[in-house]
């Protein structure tokens, strides 16, 4: 490339790289004081947040995966071409919709509704199972999981659909030619999309871990651990969001950074794993 334009673009690249590294760098740098001072007790102290993050994200993924896969299949298999793009647009709109609105609606609309119907029923009839052993409250792990799954499903669905819909028609034909029906065609195509589904799940899980406001509004903000999905709890991003503003001592601030560092490491790991999965699935 010609010199002048090369230099210009390199400046842009360098700017981007230095931004990334200074972000990560400041994260690490700010965490160090508390990690050195408290070591493992730091993460024991924050266990409720770590526990909450895992619970909410895992339940959200369990709900989102079948949902996202089903939607991807339906859009690819049963919708005529013209209507397909409308639904894909709605799907993408949902994926880029402000998360704060999901959270606000979740807290003041979905929450009360579920509390008086589904959650109440779960507690009343299945309350002997530890998962549903507490009374419904304003915010809970389950409510946050449901809202989170609504938020990440459109994204996961697009990823799956991208791969699923590109499977050549000859695969459909060869299954039909064996005297089989649509059910088997879908089964085979799902098999071919295995990697994309797994990759999409991992990527969506990583996103779910990092989601802040929607979860903060719906998880209940209780710094505790509970085996019941209906109790309030806290997640890592929600905790940081709640406490960072009032953290004053260097130790307090540094501890929150350490927690953020943990979140960062987990999140990036999942992203990398997902990329490896999807990349190697390109047959």
């Amino acid at each position: 490339m010609q010199k002048r334009i090369l230099i210009a673009t390199l400046i842009g690249v360098m700017a981007m790289i230095s931004l990334v590294f200074s972000l990560v760098g400041s994260l690490v740098y700010s965490s160090i004081p508390s990690i050195l001072a408290l070591k493992s007790t730091l993460f024991l102290y924050y266990l409720p947040a770590i526990y909450g993050s895992l619970v909410v994200s895992i339940v959200a993924i369990l709900l989102a995966m079948p949902l996202a896969t089903g939607v991807a299949i339906f859009i690819s298999e049963y919708l005529p071409r013209k209507i397909r793009s409308i639904f894909i647009s709605i799907n993408d709109l949902m994926a880029s919709f402000p998360t704060i609105i999901y959270g606000y609606w979740g807290l003041y609309e979905l929450g009360p509704f579920l509390n008086s119907t589904l959650f109440k029923a779960l507690n009343t009839y299945l309350g002997f199972i530890p998962l549903f052993s507490t009374q419904p409250s304003t915010g809970s792990y389950l409510l946050a999981s449901i809202v989170l799954s609504i938020m990440i499903s459109p994204f996961a669905s697009s990823l799956i659909r991208e791969v699923y819909s590109k499977i050549p028609y000859i695969v459909d034909e060869s299954v039909y030619a064996l005297g089989l029906g649509r059910w088997e065609v879908i089964r085979i195509k799902l098999l071919y999309s295995r990697r994309a589904i797994l990759g999409g799940m991992t990527l969506a899980f990583g996103r779910g871990l990092g989601e802040t406001v929607a979860v903060d509004l719906t998880v209940g903000g209780a710094f505790s651990i509970s085996s019941s999905l209906l109790s309030p709890g806290i997640t890592i991003p929600a905790l940081i969001a709640n406490q960072f503003g009032s953290a004053f001592t260097q130790l307090e601030i540094s501890s929150l950074f350490a927690l953020a560092l943990l979140l960062f490491i987990i999140g990036v790991s999942f992203t990398l794993i997902a990329k490896l999965l999807i990349l190697r699935g390109e047959r």
């Binding site: 030619a177 064996l178 005297g179």
Partner: protein, 256 residues
């Protein structure tokens, strides 16, 4: 269905339109004799694959397809038969070898068998897999490890696996759409030998991309040109004394 009739398929009259383009134009009186190899040849775009896909009613699954006419399978109008039952009796092999790549050799065949409800017990399925691979002349080459992934086979072997998979359903007819055009010469030869062997038990309708192959392998041959049936008959007769000038030209190689 009566399978003692001399003709397994009879196209009484057939017209096909795809997206309003007239693809097959008034195909009449085409009869496929049982236990023979019947070749359909013609330049590309003449509608050979389309004709083949009418026979197992695969064509109508696509959008924009209009089919008019009467086609008989063992004396019955195919459009009155349940398409799924039809496809179990009339199998298909495609141009591009397409086994289920992520599955093992064994599972490729077993899947079709299980999904069709032909057999459930493992011993039964094992036997069917073995017999199908033998019939497809593939058993010797893969018998040491049936759990290998289908993607590890060569093109010719993959195509024979596809044939084995189709044979597992014990069809009466096997439709083959240019089965050797994407395969190397050695593999292609093996498949041609297989076709000649198989005709003892089933009827094979073969779309061929070159007249030499049709001449080598078929008992009967037909020429399709621009969607029209030009002529058909015993291969020996058609190749030595063609009734139509078009046939002469095509066989001599001066057409696409």
């Amino acid at each position: 269905m009566s399978d003692s009739l001399p003709f397994v398929f009879e196209i009484v009259a057939l017209n096909v339109w795809i997206n309003n383009r007239h693809i097959l134009k008034d195909i009449r009186d085409l009869r496929i004799p049982r236990n023979s190899v019947f070749a359909i040849m013609g330049p590309s775009g003449s509608g050979k694959s389309t004709l083949l896909k009418v026979l197992n009613r695969l064509l109508e699954l696509r959008e924009g397809v209009k089919i008019e006419g009467e086609v008989k399978f063992n004396g019955e109008n195919i459009f009155n038969i349940d398409p799924i039952r039809l496809r179990r009796k009339v199998g298909m092999v495609f141009q591009q070898p397409n086994p289920f790549y992520n599955m093992s050799i064994y599972d490729n065949i077993a899947y079709a068998v299980k999904a069709n409800g032909i057999a459930k017990r493992k011993e039964e399925i094992d036997e069917i897999v073995k017999q199908s691979l033998i019939r497809a002349n593939l058993y010797e080459e893969v018998k040491d490890n049936l759990k290998r992934q289908a993607s590890s086979l060569s093109g010719g072997e993959q195509q024979r696996l596809v044939i084995a998979r189709a044979l597992a359903l014990k069809p009466e007819v096997l439709l083959m759409d240019e089965p050797t055009s994407q395969i190397d010469v050695v593999g292609a030869r093996k498949i041609e030998e297989l076709i000649i062997e198989l005709k003892k038990e089933i009827t094979i309708i073969l779309v061929s991309h070159n007249p030499q192959q049709a001449a080598r392998v078929s008992d009967y041959v037909s020429l399709l040109y621009d969607g029209k049936l030009i002529e058909w008959g015993p291969s020996q007769r058609v190749f030595t004394y063609p009734k139509s000038e078009l046939t002469e030209k095509y066989v001599a190689g001066s057409m696409g």
